[in-house]
């Protein structure tokens, strides 16, 4: 039992946070959001240099061979920076999915390119109404109910949709699917699709936790500077206690995320409950964080001029993907009330329950 991150994990995320702070400065984000600049390919390049796209790919294809628990802090940091690139989807969901089928030569070549960042893979998953980042991708994974297909971006048609977050490109994707594009079918495809869903839910949750941290930070900075009635507004309890409440929510979402990261791939009732819990806790935290940050900023928070809305809009998009609040709350209830998931204090980690004792 060890609930800490290794020094390597912490160093990796520090390096990424530093890079992300650099790539996603307020000015850079604003320019990207307003379509005034496009440093997207440069940003992707820098991410690739750090090896991030291939973190979860096997070393045999040039990846780092790490696992979800190694990636969870990266996803959180991507959220915190409001990173415009779909690093989390590519590296955290698509690459592990491809890795499951790397014995297939068609997959292996794409996986190799995806690990280096030369290919960018978007996912059109049956549980999401739209695919994210397909417009910027080189490949699209079409994850259906019974089959998984891999196509190049040229081979699919995109119907674009507009998110309130201008940095999220949404599409409905169609393409001609056949034996030549199919990389998995039947039970194998179903299980892989389910794992992709769990990873999607978990990692968007981590992004939300990161956004929550960023929003608290914005609120704290503003409240520490802004004076009203002769005092910094951050010295009023009304402001203090609102921000403290958000911090409480964030603090009790994080361990849930980390614990879910160790088991999300297992597809057990317990692991799915853990993932749903993580998604609910993080999206609830960022929901409160967004509204609180606006309120603390006053009229300023409601304007385009401060950065609050970038984070708030990103959170709105992430909250609805990979199972919305209703999906995860209903799933959790199903697990509790119908499947009678054991929630005794000895059952927290699933594996810990003792065999029935015959004393």
């Amino acid at each position: 039992m060890d609930f800490t991150f290794t020094e390597e994990q912490q160093m990796m995320v520090s390096a990424f946070r530093e890079l992300a702070d650099d790539l996603c400065s307020a000015t850079a984000l604003r320019a990207a959001f307003e379509g005034r600049s496009d440093h997207a390919s440069e940003r992707w390049q820098r991410l690739a240099e750090l090896g991030l796209p291939g973190m979860l790919a096997p070393e045999s294809v040039g990846g780092m061979g790490l696992n979800l628990a190694d990636f969870i802090l990266i996803a959180e940091a991507a959220g915190r920076a409001a990173l415009p690139e779909t690093l989390v989807e590519h590296a955290g969901i698509a690459v592990p999915l491809l890795s499951e089928f790397s014995a297939d030569a068609r997959v292996a070549s794409v996986l190799q390119a995806a690990a280096s960042g030369d290919a960018r893979v978007a996912i059109n998953h049956t549980s999401n109404p739209f695919a994210l980042g397909a417009l910027e991708a080189s490949h699209v994974l079409m994850v259906g109910d019974q089959e998984i297909h891999l196509l190049t971006r040229d081979a699919v048609s995109l119907e674009s949709h507009r998110s309130i977050d201008a940095l999220r490109s949404l599409s409905r994707v169609t393409g001609s699917l056949g034996a030549s594009t199919c990389i998995a079918r039947g039970a194998e495809a179903v299980a892989a699709a389910a794992r992709a869903f769990e990873r999607g839910a978990l990692l968007t949750a981590a992004e939300c936790a990161g956004l929550c941290e960023a929003l608290i930070g914005l609120g704290v900075s503003y409240a520490s500077e802004r004076t009203q009635f002769g005092k910094k507004i951050g010295s009023y309890q009304a402001i203090k206690h609102q921000l403290a409440n958000v911090q409480v929510k964030l603090e009790f979402a994080r361990p849930v995320l980390y614990a879910a990261a160790t088991q999300a791939d297992a597809l057990t009732t317990r692991s799915q409950f853990a993932v749903s819990h993580a998604k609910l806790a993080s999206t609830d935290a960022v929901d409160l964080a967004g509204r609180t940050a606006v309120q603390v900023h006053g009229a300023m928070g409601y304007s385009w001029e401060v950065d609050v809305h970038f984070y708030l809009k990103r959170a709105l998009g992430l909250t609805g993907m990979w199972g919305d609040r209703s999906f995860h709350m209903r799933r959790a209830q199903h697990q509790l009330f119908t499947q009678h998931l054991d929630v005794g204090p000895d059952a927290l980690f699933g594996s810990s329950a003792l065999p029935a004792m015959s004393l």
């Binding site: 309130i164 009229a299 409601y302």
Partner: protein
């Protein structure tokens, strides 16, 4: 008879009249947002259509363009207005805030000059309250007005002025006594936004439209005739205006009842997949909207009986602003993966702009005095707790 919650025959006839008119005149398609240039112009046209039907501001006396309607009739009018899905009032600053203020503090000349133009939809008004360093703390304002002969010279910088980008006039307070502090030495002025020295710069809101503006006053010379009330009386008048803002009229209950009704429909189409608590949250939205309506009827009859609106305006402000956020959060939860779609995207569910509405609702707990300030007011003035 007391607690008689039935409409009179006259009130019923009045409702029928409003309904018939709205059915004929309300645009079939929703207008574009009034925060943008095109939408603003169309909303201004709508004000004129309303005025042509004598619906500009029905509770005002006939001489000022009203029809002397009772507050109950006003509530009925609003119910039918929102029921018909009629456009938002682009001149709400004029008719709901400055109108009553002029009625109470204006000279006869001022009333005759300004009120009919407001009711006619000819002149659209903006507020000029806040300043960069004076948001919630209005008494910290620094803009000045210096008396020179028969004129005042205004200098300063106002901000967060809703829709000033496209409006015609603004009203606000300025410091006339340079030695004064806080609430003293302030005076209330009415200024055309096209007047020499006035410069307006739009501020984009979260949704990207310039719904706010900054107003710069650079040696703006205004005649004494544009001063409302006496020199130094500005704070009291502004507080009265703010009371109107929080009070009965600005957020008529029908608005929330219609939103809650639409939320019920949205829920019904998502009932299969919605998590259980949303059923209760939607029911709560309906109940809260009705509670707000009932409370407004109670206040209206109390006012008709000669009462005044006091501190309870702060209770209203908190209740409707939180209700509005609640309604829209429920809607976004129901919409799930479709919630993030920008207005106008073809995949948007139904015809209701829930996302824009949600973003707009976030402003509710802030403007017209933040809810934190309203809670202070309730605690200190209604409950009598000691000042901080």
């Amino acid at each position: 008879m007391a607690l008689d919650l039935n409409y009179t025959a006259d009130e019923q006839r009045f409702r029928a009249e409003v309904r018939a008119w709205m059915q004929t005149h309300v645009p079939k398609e929703p207008l574009p947002t009034l925060e943008g240039e095109v939408g603003f112009a169309l909303h201004r046209e709508w004000e004129k259509t309303l005025a042509a039907g004598d619906w500009g501001m029905i509770t005002w006396p006939r001489e000022y363009g009203g029809r002397g309607a009772s507050l109950i009739e006003w509530l009925i009018f609003e119910e039918e207005y929102y029921r018909a899905n009629a456009p938002l009032r682009v001149n709400q600053n004029g008719i709901f805030l400055l109108g009553p203020t002029l009625m109470e503090f204006g000279s006869e000349e001022q009333k005759a000059r300004f009120l009919p133009q407001m009711a006619a939809g000819e002149e659209v008004w903006a507020q000029a309250w806040s300043e960069p360093q004076a948001g919630s703390d209005l008494a910290a304002l620094r803009s000045t007005a210096t008396r020179e002969g028969d004129e005042y010279v205004l200098r300063g910088h106002k901000i967060w002025s809703s829709r000033a980008t496209f409006a015609d006039w603004c009203f606000g307070i300025f410091r006339t006594d340079p030695a004064s502090e806080r609430h003293k030495g302030l005076t209330f002025f009415l200024v055309p936004l096209t007047h020499p020295g006035v410069r307006v710069r739009g501020i984009r809101q979260m949704h990207g439209e310039p719904g706010f503006a900054e107003i710069f006053f650079e040696d703006v010379r205004v005649p004494v005739a544009w001063r409302l009330g006496a020199d130094g009386e500005g704070w009291n008048i502004a507080m009265a205006t703010a009371g109107f803002e929080r009070g009965l009229m600005l957020r008529s209950p029908a608005r929330f009842q219609v939103a809650a009704q639409r939320l019920v429909r949205l829920y019904e189409t998502h009932a299969e997949t919605a998590e259980p608590a949303l059923a209760s949250a939607v029911a709560q939205a309906v109940m809260d909207a009705e509670a707000y309506a009932l409370s407004t009827y109670a206040t209206a009859t109390r006012l008709i009986a000669g009462g005044k609106i006091g501190v309870e305006a702060s209770l209203n402000k908190i209740f409707w602003s939180e209700l509005d956020v609640h309604i829209h959060r429920c809607a976004l939860s129901l919409l799930g993966g479709f919630a993030e779609l920008a207005a106008g995207d073809p995949a948007v569910v139904g015809s209701d702009a829930w996302l824009d509405g949600f973003i707009f609702s976030l402003a509710g707990p802030i403007y017209a005095g933040t809810n934190e300030i309203q809670r202070n007011i309730i605690a200190e003035r209604l409950l009598g707790l000691p000042r901080g």
